[in-house]
C-alpha cells in the first residue's frame, strides 16, 4: 500500500517537473530550452551513439577510480580516528572545517599537481568523497558499545581481526551512510572537474553543448546524469535501510 502510494507520488512529482519544464520552455523559447518531447527524441538517438558512449565511459572510469580512492582513504582515516580517541578528538574539527570549504577553489591546485588528464579529475572527485566517508566512519566506530571491544580483547583478537570481525560489522549501517554520501559528492566532484578545462566526459559534453547552443544535448546529458544519480541513490538507500533494520 505505502509502496504503491510512494510510487504514485514519485510519478506525480515527475509529471509536475515535466509540466514546469514545458512552461519554462514556453517562456524561454526553443533555442534556450527545448520542450520535453523533442529532448526525449534527441536523447533516444544520442545516448546509443558512439560519441556519447565514449564520453560516458571516460566519466565512468574517472568516477570509479575516484570512488575507489575516496572509499579507501576515507575508511582508513575514519577507522583510525574512530579507534584512536585522541586522533579523533584532535582531527574531527579539522575534517569538518575542510568538509564545508568550497573545494572548487582548490581545483587549480589539483590541476597543477596532477595535470589536465584523467588523474586530475580522479583526484578532485576523491577529494570530495574522502571527508564524508571519514567523518561518518569515525562517528560509527565511536558509537560502538565499549563492551564489544572488551570482548575482542578477551578473545585476544589481533588489531586486524578486531577491525574485520568486530568494528566493521557493528559500524556497518552508519559507515554505509558515509559511503552513500561519498558516492554522491564524488560524482559531483568528477563532473565539476570535467566542466573546467577538460576535453572529455559528460561534464565537458554539457559545457561544449552550451557554447555551441545545443540545448537538447545539454538537457540530454543532464537527464542521463540525474537518472543515474537518482537510481543509484535509491538503491544505496534501500541497502542502507536493510542494514539498519538488521542491527
Amino acid at each position: 500500500m505505502t509502496a504503491t502510494r510512494r510510487a504514485t507520488d514519485t510519478l506525480v512529482i515527475l509529471i509536475v517537473l515535466l509540466a514546469v519544464w514545458q512552461i519554462l520552455h514556453r517562456i524561454a523559447g526553443a533555442t534556450a530550452l527545448p520542450a520535453p518531447l523533442p529532448t526525449m527524441a534527441y536523447l533516444m538517438h544520442t545516448v546509443p551513439s558512439a560519441r556519447f558512449a565514449a564520453n560516458a565511459a571516460t566519466t565512468a572510469l574517472e568516477f570509479a577510480f575516484a570512488l575507489l580512492l575516496a572509499y579507501a582513504i576515507g575508511l582508513a582515516i575514519g577507522i583510525w580516528m574512530g579507534a584512536h580517541r585522541l586522533s579523533g578528538v584532535v582531527g574531527e574539527p579539522i575534517l569538518v572545517a575542510l568538509y564545508s570549504l568550497p573545494k572548487i577553489t582548490l581545483y587549480p591546485v589539483v590541476l597543477l599537481i596532477f595535470g589536465l588528464g584523467i588523474s586530475g579529475k580522479v583526484a578532485f572527485g576523491a577529494m570530495h568523497g574522502i571527508l564524508p566517508v571519514a567523518l561518518l566512519t569515525m562517528g560509527a566506530i565511536r558509537a560502538i558499545p565499549p563492551v564489544y571491544l572488551r570482548s575482542a580483547r578477551t578473545l585476544h583478537l589481533s588489531p586486524w581481526q578486531t577491525i574485520a570481525t568486530v568494528l566493521l560489522p557493528a559500524a556497518l549501517p552508519e559507515v554505509f551512510t558515509g559511503l552513500r554520501i561519498g558516492f554522491t559528492v564524488t560524482l559531483l566532484g568528477v563532473l565539476l572537474g570535467e566542466m573546467f578545462a577538460s576535453k572529455q566526459g559528460l561534464g565537458y559534453m554539457i559545457m561544449n553543448a552550451m557554447s555551441l547552443a545545443q540545448s537538447e544535448e545539454m538537457m540530454t546529458v543532464a537527464i542521463v546524469l540525474f537518472a543515474f544519480a537518482a537510481i543509484a541513490n535509491g538503491l544505496l538507500l534501500w541497502i542502507e535501510h536493510r542494514l539498519h533494520r538488521r542491527v
Partner: protein
Amino acid sequence: MTRVGLIRIAVIVAMIGALELACRLGFINHQTIIAPSEMASALASLLASGAINADIARTLGVVVIVIVLAVVLGFAAGLVIHALPRVREALDPLFATYYAVPIFIFYPVLIAIFGLSPIPILLIGVATAIVAMIIATLNGLDRVPRVLTKVARVHRLGRVATAMTLQLPAAAPYLLTGVKLSVSYGFIAVIAAEFILSPAGLGRDIADAYADFDNRRMYALILFLLIIATIVNAFLHALDMRWAERRAGGRP
C-alpha cells in the same frame, strides 16, 4: 586552551610548516605550489592594492542575496508544506533525492536561458541552498510543542502572526541548522559557478589567474576565499554549539 586544542593547533602549524619547508627547500616546484608565507604576502599586497575590491563586493553580494533568498523562501515554503501533510508526503521522494543528484549540472542550462549574467549564478545558488532550509524548517516545525499552536488558537492569531511570533522562535534552534547548511551550500555553489563560467567575481579571478600561470595571484585569491569560508563556518559552528543546548533541553 585545552590540551586537545593545543595539539590541534600544533598539528595545523606543523602541516603548514612542512609545506613551507618543502617549498623553500625546493621539494615542491615553485610552479606547482608556492610557500604559504608567499601566499600570505601576495594576499596582503593584493588586498592593499584594492585590485580585487570590486570582485569581492560582487561575489560576497551575490552570496548574501542567495543566502537571504534561500533562507526566507525556504522557511516560507517549509511553512506551507508543513501545513499540507499530503503534499509533504508526496514531496518526500524529491527531498530524499535532491542532494543526491548533481543539480549543479544545470548551471550551463541556466546560462543558455538567461545569458551570461549574475542571474544564473543566483538561481543555481538558491536552488542548491533552499532545499536544506525547507527540510530544516519541516524538521523544526515537527518539534514545535502542541501547546503553542493551541495558545495561538486561543489568542485567535492569524496564520502569519502564528508563524512569526510562535512557530519561528520555537523552531529556531532547528532552523539554525538549515541556515548553516544554506550558507555553506550557497557559498560553494556561487564560487563554483563563478569558477566554471561567469563574467566576473572571485571564482572567475581564480580561473583567470590559473589560465595566466599567475601563481602568486591565484594562491592569494584561494587563500582569501578559504579564510572567508573558514571564518563564516567557524562563526556558524559556534552559534550552533550554543543552540545545541537549547535543542537538547527540548525547550523552545
